[in-house]
Amino acid sequence: MSETSHSGTSGTLERYALPPDVRERLGELRDLSEKAQDGDKAARAKARRDLVQKLRESSPAVIARASDVSRSAQHMLIGTAVGGDPLTELALSGRLDMLREEIAGENPTALEVLLTEQVVSCWMWLQLLNALMSAQFKLKLPDGVKRSPPSYVRHMLKVEESAHRRFLASVTTLARVRKLQANTPGVQFNTQINLGRGN
C-alpha cells in the first residue's frame, strides 16, 4: 500500500482552509447570484446591482485569500508526492509554475488567476492520485510495496475519477469565463495576488 503520510493532515490547518469571514462572503455571493437569476425582471435587476456592489467589496479579498490557500495546498500535495526528495520537489514546483503561466496567459484578470490556481491544484491532485495508484497496476510491485485489496483499489479509482471530473470542470469554468466575459464590461476591481513561490 502506498504511503500518503505528510505533515499537517491531522486537523484542518489554518493556512489550508478559507477563513470564516471569506466563507461568509462566499455564502452571500452565492445567495445574491441565485436571487439575480430568479423572480421578476425588477427583482433580478436589483439583485444584480446588489451583487455587483458585493463583488466590488468582497471579490478582491476573497480571490486573494483563496489563491493563497490554493498555493499552500499545491505545496502540500507536492510535498506528499515527492516523499522528501528535494530535487523532485523543485522539478514539480517548476512544472506547476510553467503550467500556471501557460494557463493564465498574459494579463489575466484576478478571477482568471484564481481559476488558473484551481486548474493547477486539480491537476496536481490528479497527478498525486495517479502516482499513488500506478504502483498497484504493475505486474511486479517494487520492494516493500504490498498489493492493495480490490475493494480499496475500487474506492481509490472512484476518488481518481472524481478528481478527473473536477479537473475537467475547472478547465471548463475558466474557458467559459474567458469566452463569455470577452467583449463584456465586467466588474472592475483591483487586487494584488502574490505570484512568487514560498507559501
Binding site: M1, H6, L32, Q37, L51, V69, M76, C122, V159
Partner: protein, 102 residues
C-alpha cells in the same frame, strides 16, 4: 465463530453468510477445533488491521483533498457571481446574456 464445549469436548463451528442466510458449518472437534479457532482469530485480527490502515490512508487523502475542494468551491461561486453580475444567466444548462443590458 463459536468454540463450544459439550461433555468435556471442544467443537468448533464457523458462521458463513450466503446472501441473507447465515449457516453454521462444523469445522472439527478437540485439538483441531482449538487450532482452527485460534487461526480464525488471528486472520480476523490481521484483516481488521488492514482495514484500519486503509481507513487511515483514506482519511489522509481526504484531508489532502479538502483545501483543493474548498478553493474549487470558492472559484465556482466567484465565477458564477461574476457572470451573473455581467448580465449572464443560466438557461437550460447554457449561459446566455440577458437582453437589453448595456
Amino acid at each position: 465463530m463459536a468454540l463450544e464445549k459439550r461433555g468435556g469436548n471442544l467443537y468448533y463451528y464457523r458462521s458463513i453468510r450466503r446472501g441473507d442466510k447465515v449457516r453454521r458449518v462444523y469445522v472439527g472437534s478437540g485439538e483441531l477445533a482449538r487450532i482452527a479457532h485460534e487461526r480464525d482469530l488471528m486472520d480476523r485480527a490481521v484483516e481488521e488491521g488492514r482495514r484500519q490502515e486503509e481507513r487511515r490512508e483514506l482519511e489522509n487523502l481526504e484531508s489532502l483533498a479538502a483545501p483543493v475542494l474548498e478553493v474549487g468551491e470558492a472559484a465556482t461561486v466567484l465565477a458564477r457571481a461574476h457572470l451573473v453580475a455581467s448580465g449572464f444567466h443560466k438557461r437550460k444548462g447554457e449561459w446566455r446574456r440577458e437582453r437589453n443590458l448595456p
